[in-house]
Amino acid sequence: MRLTRGAVLLLATVLIVFLGLYVLPLATLVRESFKVYRSGRIGGLTGTFTLANYAELFTPAYAAYFLDTFRIGFIATALGLIASYPIAHFVARGRGRIRTLWIALLVAMLFVGTLVRAYSFALTFGPVGVLLPVSRFLGVSPNSLTLTELVVIAGLLHYVIPLMALTLVGTIHNVNPALEQVAQSLGAPRWKAFFTITVLLSGRGILSAFLLGYALTISSFVIPMVLGKGIVLFATNLIFNRFSELAHYPGGAAIAVVMLLLSFLIIYGIVRVVSRRLEPA
């Protein structure tokens, strides 16, 4: 049915909401990123245009933050994937009480919320938790960079595993379980059947789950903020610091725009990966 006049009116209302709360704010952000920053002022100088904010991001000091974000995000996502796949496989293929419990656990963990999660990790891996024993075991100082990064990664894992596991359940569900059984009847041991059949066939799903996890880890804010203790900083934390401590809006905006573009790029990548699946073999 084509749009009636009433429908157009409703559509306009929705579009206004999106315009006012989404499009225009992002546009403002982009504009701000090109303004000149004068320390002491709140926000950039109106009417100015400069690329300095972006150029600054390529300097070693700031580039390091981005690299840290990408590196830690990658490690967390990769480890998360290794843990998520077996979980997803169990949920997709299993039956019975334990499976239901797993689904409940995954969903519960999803809804726990980033703040509670961050606090729980701060507690568990903090001074009253396992921090001291672990640091002694690894032979590093409790405040060292390595240990802090590990804790951040652990926090990110807790965030990303339920997500990726649930995403992968759908993927594995689409792989015919009979195939693995056929492979076994033809002589392949379970591990071989698993890797060469199921894992291979869910390749696209694995890739898109990974990209999804990665997009979310690099955009994560509360976890690196609380668990990073100021030693580990993500790009998102940088944005907030510039905003709250320096009122360096243009600089914060520039980082924000970069993160935005990256996120869109990764999601676009997912769309491409998924849609390729639909091409004839």
Partner: protein, 273 residues
């Protein structure tokens, strides 16, 4: 040898599963247990004595209670407005076929891709430009834009499940398009709409990043209050506050499961995919 490798593989599989389960549960359990810690100070786990002191501290602290009230208010208003907007958008996408419908649908769902920090920052900038400095207004605005995609998704999921033949049957029996929508489509889409509203509330309630940019002291939300307390005094009131937050979310998830069914939520993609 093959048999051994195979058994080892299956064992490894099981180990990964158990380890993951432990990893997921332990921090939460620890928080819950510590929230009942009877000691006055933050001591090593496990707590030797249990008490409700931290809960009392939480519920009698006006700092937290005001924040709780603010959160409830902001989330209710934001969820309501997000639901209204979302249902409208979903109905438009479902009923009408027009050029650019796919693109519009992608556009409506695109806020899911934007990092919440970026969203919070940009809304702040724009509203400041407009001269809107009230914390509540800003918070509600920010929370609406991050929850609308979810209300659209769940409503759309419900609408899509309504067989076309039901609406056509109503038409053939004499109902015009508007009556058919009111009497057939809308009631059948109820579950999706309610699920979207509950989901929006839950997400708004626990939202930190966006709130950090948009709040002002009178409109401090509970997550922001907890975060602030984390930086100044790291004591176990935070644990009880966290457990309370978890409790609220748990109740909402149970409601969601009752109304909509959790597997459908996952299908509708609460985790943007």
């Amino acid at each position: 040898m093959t048999r051994l490798l195979d058994t080892a593989f299956v064992a490894l599989f099981g180990v990964v599963l158990v380890a993951a389960a432990v990893f997921l549960i332990v921090p939460i359990v620890m928080t819950v247990l510590m929230s009942f810690d009877g000691r006055e100070y933050l001591g090593r786990f496990p707590p030797p004595v249990l008490s409700l002191r931290w809960y009392t501290a939480f519920f009698f602290d006006s700092y937290y209670m005001v924040a709780l009230r603010n959160s409830a208010m902001v989330s209710t208003v934001a969820a309501t407005m997000a639901t209204v907007t979302g249902v409208t958008a979903a109905v438009l996408l479902d009923r009408y076929r027009f050029r650019g419908r796919e693109a519009l649908s992608a556009f409506f769902l695109s806020p899911l891709v934007v990092p919440t920090v970026v969203m919070g920052f940009s809304v702040l900038m724009f509203l400041s430009l407009l001269g809107l400095y009230d914390g509540f207004v800003r918070l509600i605005a920010g929370h609406i834009v991050i929850t609308v995609p979810y209300t659209i998704r769940t409503t759309l999921a419900s609408l899509v499940g309504i067989k076309r033949s039901l609406v056509e049957a109503a038409l053939s029996l004499g109902a015009d398009e508007r009556r058919a929508f009111r009497e057939i489509t809308l009631p059948l889409a109820k579950t999706g709409i309610v699920a979207g509203a509950v989901l929006a509330f839950a997400l708004s309630f626990e939202e930190v990043s966006v709130s950090l940019f948009l709040y002002d002291p009178p409109s401090t939300t509970l997550p922001v209050a907890i975060l602030g307390a984390m930086r100044s005094q790291f004591n176990l009131t935070l644990a009880s506050a966290s457990v309370v937050m978890m409790g609220v979310t748990a109740v909402l998830v149970l409601v969601l499961d009752r109304v909509f069914g959790l597997d459908r939520i996952i299908g509708a993609g609460i985790y943007r995919s």
